[in-house]
Symmetry: C2
Subunit: 250 residues, 2 copies
Amino acid sequence: MRSLTRPSHEDALALVVDGIEAGALVTVVGRCTVEYEGRAESTLGPGERHVMLKPDGAALVHTDEGQQPVNWQPPDCDHDASLVDGELLVESHRETPTEQLAVRFDSLLQASAFGLTDERDLSLAGTEEDLRERVLADPDLVEAGFVPLATERATPAGAVDVYGEDSEDRAVVVELKRKRVGPDAVGQLTRYVDALERDLHAERAVRGILVAPSVTDRARRLLAERGLEFVALEPTAGSDADRQSDADSR
Amino acid sequence: MRSLTRPSHEDALALVVDGIEAGALVTVVGRCTVEYEGRAESTLGPGERHVMLKPDGAALVHTDEGQQPVNWQPPDCDHDASLVDGELLVESHRETPTEQLAVRFDSLLQASAFGLTDERDLSLAGTEEDLRERVLADPDLVEAGFVPLATERATPAGAVDVYGEDSEDRAVVVELKRKRVGPDAVGQLTRYVDALERDLHAERAVRGILVAPSVTDRARRLLAERGLEFVALEPTAGSDADRQSDADSR
DNA sequence: AAGTCGATATCGCCA
DNA sequence: TGGCGATGTCGACTT
């Protein structure tokens, strides 16, 4: 780890260049302007910000506000640093699509380079995948007699989350969502049901069921208009939201 | 600005607590484990990471890879720091929804606190808003004789980007997208057209036009099935993508 | 390389 | 505060 406090632009340049070369995570904090051009275009006037250059090619410019960076570059970019008129210039560039970020500092508070090692073994629960496993483990949660036949079943409109049959051998399309859904999810389910009805040549009825913790009013209305159904279900059995839902439904 | 290199946990705690109190942007780099519980749940085993606590309440945990933080907390959280078994523990918590993040360090590379000031005047071009202005300034870009009557026109299915009439007085719903679109945009346009047809009691024909730089094959097929139309148009007149599009259409 | 869709999406706007 | 849709969305997975 190397770090410089209120460094000269020359010293900071050396640290940044060496850090990028060494595969370190580099941070520079100071007053700067930022320009971006690529999928869109943006300019950001002078202000004090925190800039992070990652060894995988990602770049982040953070102000003192917001979870999201004010400017950034995705992984697989090439980082570069140089002096322009005696001031530190940090650039990041990529192709496909062509886009570049330029950060020009006029004063420097700190420059650091960290050689970080990380196993990166994040374990996450409460996702749509968990909801799918819950439904497959106990299909009656969707409806008594529901039989899942496939997941990610292909249709001309996209892949259906869970495809199956009900107790009367009707085709059933299930769309899963890990949280409360709006009109977009109804549109998705509609596309799949329509596509499957075409695929099955109208030989069979196709039911569409949206499985999610809850729906908005507008989404519920859209479901009704289209003859689609809703089943309330959480991704995990013991969640707080689940208990709240139970309370609501009393 | 204050910064400590390889500080003791006690010294780091003092700096972090003072920094949070003072409204500084605080960073801590070191080996840590991370636990999150709230909208979902996650655990992250030991590894070296960069943690940022913003004065607006946002928290970010970055590894050496990826543009996105491996763990985070949105703005308006309360940050806290303490010692547990002699080790630095950083926590961030909020209600609505209830969620909390806990970062426990077992070794520290650096702890810093920055008092940043930023005007935050980002200027961005190439957005859907730019595309709308382009269409309103020259409606013939959509179709000769098209007359815009309203933007964000309300329907039971949501607000229509641009609503207007064609040269034969048919109602026209225009959905704008700043970049190449897939099936979801067709679903959106479908919802608006359906809703408007109900609203107008089938007194008038309703056309739906998707305006975007380009569409995927599947989206084009879905448009055709529904009798909807597509017009190729970029958010800005002089973009590279525009010239490419012009070249393609020759 | 492009298409498709989930996400602890985040963010801004508006009722 | 919740609903709704845009985002330079990102990221993972499939073709």
